[in-house]
C-alpha cells in the first residue's frame, strides 16, 4: 500500500513583501509565546509580566533606549560591512577579527597620539586607521583566494583568532597595572579620542556614521555598476567571466570595502562606547551580524529592523534573568528560541507547504 503524505513542499518562485513580513511577524509571535511559556514554567510568573520585563529591559528608561540603539548600531554596521561580501557569495566569517583590528588600531591612536595632535585630527586618524586595519585583515584571505583559490571560510575564521592574539599582545603593553590584563578606560580624564557628545547625547556620532554607511551601502549594491558586478559574481563565477568581469579584481575590491566597514565598526565600539580594548570587545557581534545580513537578504534597511529586533530581545532576556533571579544562561536560552523561530521562518519564505489533493 503506497500511502501519500498529507502535505508536500515546493520551492517558491517569488514571494510578496507583505507575505514575507507576515511570516516574520508570525515567527516573532511564536517565539514570544514559547519564551513566555519557558519562563512561566521556570518561575510561575504571569506571562504578561514577562513581556513587560522584555520591554522594560530594552526600552524601559531613556538610558536603556540609548543602550539598545547603541548596540543596534554596532551590529548593523558590521552587517552592512558583511553585506557586499555575502552577496558575492564570499563567506566572510572574519568580521569578528576585522572589528577587533579596527578597535585595536583606534585604541593605539588614543594611547599614543592623544597628546600629540588635536582631538578632531585624532578622531579622524582613528577612523581612517581602523578602516585600513579592517581592510588589510579582510584583504589577506581574499588575496590568497584570488591567487591560489584557498578556502575563504576557514581562512577568514582563522584570522579571527590571529586578531584576538594581536589584541592580547597589545594589552601586554597597555594594561594597568602590569599583568592585570585590564586596560581600563583610555583617556578617562581628557576624553581624547572619544566621539564627542552632541547636545548631551554621547551616541550622536555613532548614529551619523552608521546611518551614512547604511544608506551608502544600499545605493552601492542596488544602483552602482560595481554593485551589479558583485551580484553577478555572486550568481556565478563563470557567468561573470563570460561577461568580461575580472572576478579577482571584484573580489579584492569588495572585500576591501567589507573589511574597512567592519574595521570602522571596531572604531565605533572603541571610540564611541567602550573606550577600552579587550579580546571581548567584539563579543561575538561579528558572528551575529552574519545572521542579520543573511536574513535581510542584504537589504541594508531591513537589516535595521533585524538588528534592532535581536538587540531588543537580548536586552529583554537579560532583564528577565535579573528581574526573576534567573541565571544569565536563561537569557541565552531565550535568544536561542528566538533565533530558532526567526531562522525557521526562512524555510517558509523559501518554500511553500501544500496539501496533497486526492
Amino acid at each position: 500500500m503506497n500511502k501519500e503524505p498529507m502535505f508536500h513542499m515546493s520551492k517558491r518562485e517569488s514571494i510578496t513583501l507583505g507575505k514575507r513580513i507576515m511570516i516574520y511577524v508570525a515567527a516573532i509571535l511564536l517565539a514570544l509565546i514559547v519564551c513566555a511559556a519557558v519562563i512561566v514554567g521556570l518561575v510561575h510568573m504571569n506571562p504578561l509580566g514577562v513581556y513587560k520585563a522584555i520591554f522594560d529591559g530594552a526600552l524601559g528608561s531613556s538610558r536603556r533606549i540609548w543602550i539598545t540603539i547603541r548596540d543596534t548600531l554596532v551590529l548593523l554596521c558590521i552587517a552592512v560591512g558583511l553585506a557586499p561580501a555575502f552577496k558575492m557569495r564570499f563567506w566572510n566569517i572574519g568580521a569578528e577579527g576585522q572589528v577587533l583590528i579596527g578597535g585595536v588600531v583606534s585604541a593605539a591612536c588614543m594611547i599614543y597620539l592623544s597628546d600629540k595632535v588635536p582631538n578632531v585630527v585624532l578622531i579622524l586618524l582613528m577612523l581612517a586607521g581602523s578602516a585600513i586595519g579592517g581592510l588589510i585583515w579582510g584583504l589577506i584571505p581574499t588575496f590568497f583566494k584570488a591567487h591560489w583559490n584557498t578556502n575563504e571560510t576557514l581562512f577568514t575564521l582563522m584570522m579571527n583568532y590571529v586578531a584576538m592574539q594581536v589584541v592580547t599582545f597589545c594589552i601586554c603593553f597597555w594594561e594597568n597595572p602590569k599583568g592585570s590584563n585590564s586596560v581600563g578606560i583610555i583617556n578617562q580624564a581628557t576624553q581624547a579620542g572619544w566621539l564627542p557628545s552632541v547636545a548631551g547625547n554621547a551616541y550622536f556620532w555613532n548614529v551619523v556614521i552608521v546611518t551614512i554607511l547604511t544608506v551608502a551601502m544600499f545605493i552601492y549594491l542596488k544602483y552602482s555598476k560595481q554593485g551589479y558586478e558583485v551580484a553577478v559574481v555572486g550568481e556565478s563565477d563563470s557567468t561573470a567571466r563570460y561577461a568580461g568581469i575580472n572576478v579577482s579584481k571584484v573580489m579584492l575590491r569588495t572585500m576591501a570595502i567589507s573589511g574597512a566597514i567592519c574595521g570602522i565598526a571596531g572604531f565605533i565600539l572603541v571610540s564611541g562606547s567602550a573606550h577600552t580594548i579587550s579580546t571581548s570587545t567584539a563579543n561575538g557581534r561579528g558572528f551575529t551580524a552574519i545572521i542579520v545580513a543573511w536574513m535581510a537578504k542584504f537589504n541594508t534597511f531591513i537589516m535595521i529592523l533585524i538588528a534592532f529586533g535581536l538587540v531588543f530581545m537580548e536586552k529583554g532576556a537579560t532583564q528577565i534573568a535579573s528581574q526573576y533571579g534567573l541565571n544569565e544562561n536563561a537569557s541565552s536560552i531565550m535568544l536561542g528560541i528566538i533565533l530558532f523561530f526567526l531562522l525557521g521562518a526562512e524555510f517558509f519564505i523559501n518554500y511553500k507547504i501544500e496539501r496533497n489533493r486526492k
Partner: protein, 391 residues
C-alpha cells in the same frame, strides 16, 4: 591603622546599638528605604562571585532587607557593560553599588562622577583614593593571611610525604595555578609559599598563569602541566574547580580558593583559603544607615573574620594540622607573626630592607606592610624559591 579601623567599626556599632544616631554631616537612610546594587563578573557557578553573593545574603539577613531591595547583575564584563550596569542600577534608585572585579574599577569611577549622591564600592581596586571622588571606595580582605595559613597546611602535608618516603626533600615542589601576573596574585602566592616554607624549609614553587580569572579548562590544563613538571602539591588563585579536578585525578594534594573543594577532590583537597565578604557588606550598609562615611580603603583579616580557611579535610591533611593552624592563626591575630617578615625570604640571596613603590616605603620594622597603605595587595616581588613562569 588597623586598630583605628576596628575602633571605628566598634564605635559605629555602639552608636547604632544605643539608637543615638546623629551623624554630623549626613542623614542616614532607614533600612527599609535602602536599595543596594551589586555587579558581579560571574554568576553563582563561579567561586569568587558565589562568595560575594553569600556576603550580600549575609548583609541582607543582618538588616532584614527584602529581595526587592537588592538588585544583582551577574556576568558583567570588564568593559562598558559595567558602566551601563552601574548607571542602570543608579537609575533604579540604588543608593550604594558594589562592583567586584578588578577591571570594573575605571567604569565605576566614571559612574561615580556622574552620580555623586550614590556610593560606589569596588573590591580589589586601588584608585578610589586618587580618583578625587568622595563617593568612590575600595575594599579588600587580607586574604594573604588566610593564604599563609593554608600554606602552613600544605607545608605540613609535604613534611608528611617526605617522612613517608613518597618524595625527597628536594622534590617538595608546589605548583601554583595563577590568574594574572600582578600584585594581587603575586602577594597571594608568596604568602602561601611562605606559609608552606615555615613548615617545610626545602620547599620550592612553580607558578603558571592562565590569563583568565575563571576558566575551568585552562586551570585544569595548567595544573596538569605543573604536575607533569614534577610538582607534588597544587595551589591556586583562580576561580574554578579546574585545578582540584586535575589534582584529584593525579592523586596530588591541593589547596583551593574561595570555596571548599572537598566535594570536587575528596581525596586531594586539604583546605581552601576563603573570603567572608559579608563583613564588609554589613559594614558598608551600616554606614549608609548611620549616615557615616564609608572608609576609602577598607581591609580586614583573620581577626575580624573577613578571611578564613575552610574546614580541614581530615582524610587528607597531615596529623596534628589543626593544632598548628590554630596556633598560627592566633599569632597572626595578635600581631606576633607577620606574613611578610623579611627574615623569612630573600631576593637574589639578599634580605630586602627597603621597597619603595609609588613613593611609599613598604618595608619597616622588619616586615613588608601589606595592604596598610591601600586596600589592594601591593606585594609584587618575586622571591627566591619561586619560579614565576610568564609565557
Amino acid at each position: 591603622m588597623k586598630r583605628t579601623k576596628l575602633l571605628a567599626v566598634l564605635m559605629t556599632t555602639a552608636i547604632a546599638a544605643t539608637g543615638a544616631v546623629c551623624a554630623a554631616d549626613a542623614e542616614g537612610i532607614a533600612a527599609e528605604n535602602l536599595k543596594v546594587g551589586a555587579i558581579y563578573i560571574g554568576d553563582e557557578n563561579e567561586g569568587y562571585t558565589a562568595a560575594h553573593m553569600a556576603g550580600i545574603d549575609e548583609m541582607m539577613e543582618t538588616f532584614g532587607l527584602e529581595e526587592s531591595q537588592v538588585i544583582e547583575k551577574t556576568l558583567i564584563g570588564e568593559d562598558e557593560t559595567c558602566y551601563d550596569a552601574a548607571a542602570d542600577l543608579a537609575d533604579q534608585g540604588c543608593q550604594i553599588i558594589f562592583g567586584t572585579s578588578f577591571g570594573h574599577e575605571t567604569y565605576l569611577i566614571q559612574a561615580a562622577g556622574e552620580f555623586p549622591d550614590v556610593q560606589f564600592c569596588h573590591a580589589t581596586g586601588y584608585q578610589a583614593a586618587s580618583s578625587g571622588l568622595d563617593n568612590m571606595h575600595n575594599y579588600f580582605d587580607n586574604i594573604y593571611e588566610a593564604r599563609y595559613v593554608s600554606g602552613v597546611v600544605a607545608g605540613m602535608k609535604l613534611n608528611e610525604m617526605i617522612e613517608n618516603g613518597d618524595i625527597t626533600e628536594e622534590q617538595a615542589r608546589i605548583g601554583y595555578v595563577g590568574a594574572y601576573p600582578y600584585a594581587e596574585v603575586i602577594s597571594g602566592f608568596t604568602s602561601f609559599y611562605l606559609g608552606a616554607k615555615s613548615q617545610c624549609p626545602s620547599v620550592t614553587m612553580e607558578v603558571k598563569y592562565t590569563n583568565s580569572w575563571a576558566s575551568f579548562d585552562l586551570e585544569k590544563e595548567c595544573a596538569e602541566a605543573l604536575i607533569a613538571d614534577g610538582c607534588v602539591l597544587i595551589g591556586q588563585h583562580a576561580d574554578t574547580t579546574g585545578a582540584p579536578t586535575a589534582a584529584q585525578a593525579a592523586g596530588v594534594p591541593c589547596v583551593g580558593y574561595n570555596v571548599d573543594m572537598i566535594e570536587t577532590a575528596p581525596d586531594s583537597a586539604l583546605t581552601s583559603s576563603s573570603n567572608n565578604w559579608g563583613v564588609y557588606y554589613t559594614y558598608a550598609v551600616q554606614c549608609m544607615i548611620d549616615g557615616t562615611e564609608i572608609e576609602k580603603d577598607w581591609t580586614a583579616g583573620l581577626k575580624d573574620g573577613a578571611v578564613l580557611i575552610t574546614p580541614l579535610n581530615e582524610k587528607a591533611v597531615a596529623e596534628g594540622t589543626q593544632e598548628v593552624v590554630d596556633e598560627v592563626e592566633s599569632q597572626i591575630e595578635d600581631g606576633s607573626l607577620h606574613v611578610f617578615d623579611t627574615a623569612t625570604w630573600t631576593v637574589d640571596g639578599k634580605t630586602l630592607d627597603t621597597y619603595e613603590k609609588n613613593g611609599i616605603e613598604y618595608i619597616s620594622d622588619g616586615y613588608f606592610h601589606e595592604s596598610e597603605y591601600g586596600s589592594a595587595p601591593a606585594f609584587d616581588i618575586i622571591i627566591d624559591g619561586i619560579d614565576s613562569i610568564v609565557e
